[in-house]
Amino acid sequence: MSKPSSPVDFGAYPDARGHFGEFGGRFVSETLISALDELQEMYERLKNDPEFQSAFDYDLAHYVGRPSPLYLAERLTEAAGGARIWLKREDLNHTGAHKVNNTVGQALLAKHSGKSRVIAETGAGQHGVATATVAARLGLKCAVYMGAEDVKRQSPNVYRMKLLGAEVIPVESGSKTLKDAMNEAMRDWVTNVDDTFYIIGTVAGPHPYPQLVRDFNSIIGREARRQSLEQFGQLPDALVACVGGGSNAIGLFHPFLADESVKMYGVEAGGDGVETGRHAAPLNDGVPGVLHGNRTYLMEDDDGQIIETHSVSAGLDYPGVGPEHAWLRDIGRVEYVAANDDEALAAFRQLTRTEGILPALESSHAVAYALKLAATMGADQNIVVNLSGRGDKDIFTVAAIDGIEV
């Protein structure tokens, strides 16, 4: 078991003003402050309300399909030649990724707020689909902002959102990707703040979003902790998860933070290689700055302009990262590494062929690093990898790389 006490009380973060050390906070225009105050007040009240918690637990069990299995990937373990690799199967959730844990939770908040419309930003489309899904279920109007480039890259998810009744709004400003979609969603929220609830999809944005998105996703780590004890009788030696904004990673990591024996690795998108500058790895190669309502590590130029990111995975193609990760990096609790596009693609193929599991390209980054890590560890050790999403949405991207028209 873990050591009884830890010098850092991880449960005490963020502080009352949303700070994780020097990171986080609330860097938004004054117009949004009252909406954020209202959200924070409501969340503080509901998070300890047994009725709210049981509604959330019910939805996770009966709508999302939790708990998700912790699966021992025996052939993958054999191929890596070291520690046992366990996969936390978030890909088996309703809608195919961890994103729905958060949208189910925020939808309950939206319902309590009495607002009739929800909005979201999306990159790969997974969060957009998860938002459109819960909106359909609750009969809420739904608008999803998506960079025009991503609309092209992720057409199946665009159509899924439309089938679910959501309006998908292509964003033509800036680099036309996730960061611009988030700008546009913020602008919508400022304008329609009276009747609109903004469902942010990752652990970024202004306080209290990084906290509440983390809390809703922490079900991943709570289950994994219990399943580890049940299935192999001890805590894992290492956790591995991909990090774009970082919601699946924080969801897995957070319930283990006080367990000092558990090492944690957040895997960023290395793109063409961190050394090339063409990547989406701000924790490996960025500097602290302010974007989208929080202070965190960013990819920017010498003038403080946000620069374009590069990754084969649309869901990791983001120049910032959740502020709690920035803090966990600086205090040394989590190690942030990178997997390049080619490594992620190789892992995608390897997991598909050895286990019959088609992972999302995002999650393939975690698998790629886990394969390397396992090889350095003993056969009696255990690694839990967050398989955050399924890869059906990515088959067109992979086919295009293979030069095949599907």
């Binding site: 860097f27 004054e30 117009t31 909406a35 700008n183 009276d194 700055g289 960013l298 920017e300 302009q305």
Partner: protein
């Protein structure tokens, strides 16, 4: 009258003594070409602008509507930056030593430069204040102290959604003037509600003696005059940025800005 060390304070004192309303004009630094920005600033003053807000272009201008977003994008294509804004102010000051200049922008370029370096550079260039859109009161204290120590002003936004308790907190930090955002929305939006402006200015007035200027959604002389009836001035941005964007060159932009600002000036003075 006591000596006022800051041009913004001096300008509002003068306007008050003359019984006039302030016309605050916004353009984006580098929009229409870096070489034309200082000329455009002089034109704004010549046509009747009392204070200039010089927009610092940012890649992710979250609070701007489409018109000013495009202005930022054009300015970035011209390689405008916070550092170059300082050089522009310095150049402006060689011919105009009295019109206040405020840098309006977002937190990240300042973070990158370093808040203290920013405050020093603004003072050295002859700037008078800063308005940082995404630095609300709870995050603004360190920069506020640095500006204050240099006799520079920190302009804060108040909005229809700002509670009374926050108005008290923000006006405690604010200096120079207070910028009241007339509507819920982004810059350039079209749903100005004059009753709400009146009500909110009265509410803010209970907490501060600072001049109150109203912006967002002001398109012409009539709307400028209407919003400043209960306040001390109007801020206009999107129509000017739009005019710069539609102009073929610097000379054309100068003419168009001149015409728009003159019309607003006469409406405000009528």
């Amino acid at each position: 009258m006591t000596t006022l060390n800051n041009r913004i304070d001096r300008r509002f004192a003068k306007l008050r003594s003359e019984g006039r309303k302030a016309l605050v004009t916004y353009i984006v630094a580098g929009d229409g070409g870096l070489e034309n920005t200082v000329d455009l600033m002089h034109q704004l003053v010549a046509s009747g602008s009392d204070l200039i807000e010089l927009g610092v272009p940012f890649s992710d201008p979250m609070a701007e509507g489409p018109v000013i977003q495009k202005g930022h994008e054009r300015a970035l294509e011209h390689k405008a930056s916070l550092r170059k804004c300082m050089a522009l102010i310095e150049e402006f000051r060689t011919k105009d030593t009295e019109t206040p200049v405020i840098l309006m922008g977002y937190a990240n370029p300042i973070e990158k430069m370093g808040a203290e370096v920013f405050a020093d550079a603004l003072q050295a260039a002859g700037g008078d204040g800063a308005l940082t859109v995404d630095l609300p009161a709870e995050e603004a204290v360190p920069l506020n102290e640095l500006l204050k120590a240099r006799d520079l002003r920190n302009i804060f936004l108040l909005t229809p959604t700002t509670s009374d308790a926050r108005i008290a907190e923000i006006t405690e930090l604010a200096s120079g003037f207070v910028y009241y955002v007339s509507l819920k929305g982004v810059t350039g939006a079209g749903h100005l509600d004059l009753d709400s402006v009146h009500e909110n200015l009265m509410r803010i007035r209970r907490y501060t003696d600072l001049p109150l200027c109203v912006g967002f959604g002001i398109k012409d002389g009539a709307s400028a005059k209407a919003v400043s009836a209960d306040g001390d001035g109007a801020v206009v941005g999107s129509v000017l940025v739009s005019a710069v964007g539609e102009s073929a060159d610097g000379a054309a932009a100068k003419d168009r800005l001149g015409a728009i600002v003159s019309e607003m000036r006469s409406a405000l003075d009528s």
